[in-house]
Amino acid sequence: MLFAAVVVVAVNSLPERAEAEYGDVVINELSDDAGMRPVVFPHWFHRIRFRCKVCHGDLGFAFKAGGNEINMVKIIDGQYCGACHDGDVAWSIENCELCHSGQPNTPTQVHHSTVQALINSVQNTEEDEEGVEE
């Protein structure tokens, strides 16, 4: 009963009230399946410290959420996030929850992006139409 209440409240409070920062990237390619919270990458925090070209040029990050096959082995070996998150330039990977801090089941996306808004509006319309049919 309590669990059901929690699930209902949690589901109701998830998508529409999301006010995360513009450009925050949720990466959930592997996390849910691995029993970890999805990663929330704060673009704003990183662009205060580095120009875009550092990650998108020098480190090879594609301009696409979920467009890089990142996994923990690559990060430990110094690729992608691991190029900085090595305990030298930035804190290292034992701080799991600083990255893996997203709400479970949040899909990979660039939050507040125009594309995401278009997808959400299509999905909402489809749900409304389904509601009418019922």
């Binding site: 662009r47 070209k53 040029g57 799991c96 992006s113 125009t114």
Partner: protein, 195 residues
């Protein structure tokens, strides 16, 4: 036994957080239906701290350790959309100097000061594309030749493709200022028709 305690705690926290959000929903529903600026995100809700931004899990320990964007942006120049930060002015005014290299803090960006004017159909002013502001952040190879062929007239661009995340929309509408800021690109008035 310990595990069960932890689970009860997590459930309780989740329930509490859920009820808070539900209470917020209630408060919004009870407001004056003709309140000013009903659909806009009020300034008080912008740059929300991670634990209440709806994407971070408030029950994760890490969430509470993250910086709030509101705090980070407090001394940066404001803009009207996106992060509500004027990132380019922040660099021009020396309020930010993001590194161009992971380790070498003294490496400078290679800036190209070259404007490209794109004449557009319809009544909108022509687009002036400034290489300067873009090369402050990016390398030539980030855009050329994969996104934009570096040749005049070689790139077909439409607002529809930008909205779908192509061309300028690879960044604008995702992380750089969104397309609602029409006049920041469409900035060059067309010559007045003499007829």
């Amino acid at each position: 036994m310990k595990h069960s305690h932890a689970r009860t705690l997590v459930v309780a926290i989740t329930l509490l957080a859920g009820l808070t959000v539900a209470a917020m929903h209630g408060a919004i529903a009870n407001e004056n239906p003709n309140a000013f600026n009903r659909l806009m995100k009020p300034a008080s809700e912008r740059n929300a701290p991670p634990e209440s931004d709806g994407i971070h899990d408030p029950t994760a320990d890490g969430t509470m350790m993250l910086q709030s964007p509101r705090e980070a942006f407090s001394n940066l120049p404001k803009s009207r959309s996106g992060n509500y930060v004027d990132w380019n002015r922040a660099i021009d005014d020396n309020l930010l100097s993001p590194r161009s290299d992971i380790r070498n803090a003294d490496m400078n960006a290679i800036v190209l000061d070259l404007n490209i004017v794109r004449e557009v159909k319809g009544s909108m002013p022509d687009v002036v594309y400034p290489h300067k502001q873009h090369t402050q952040w990016l390398d030539c190879s980030n855009c050329h030749p994969a996104i934009f062929i570096p040749m005049k007239g070689a790139n077909q661009i439409s607002m529809a493709s930008i909205l779908m995340g192509e061309k300028c929309g690879v960044c604008h509408g995702k992380v750089a200022f969104p397309v609602s800021e029409c006049r920041r690109c469409h900035s060059k008035a067309k010559p007045i028709d003499q007829n």
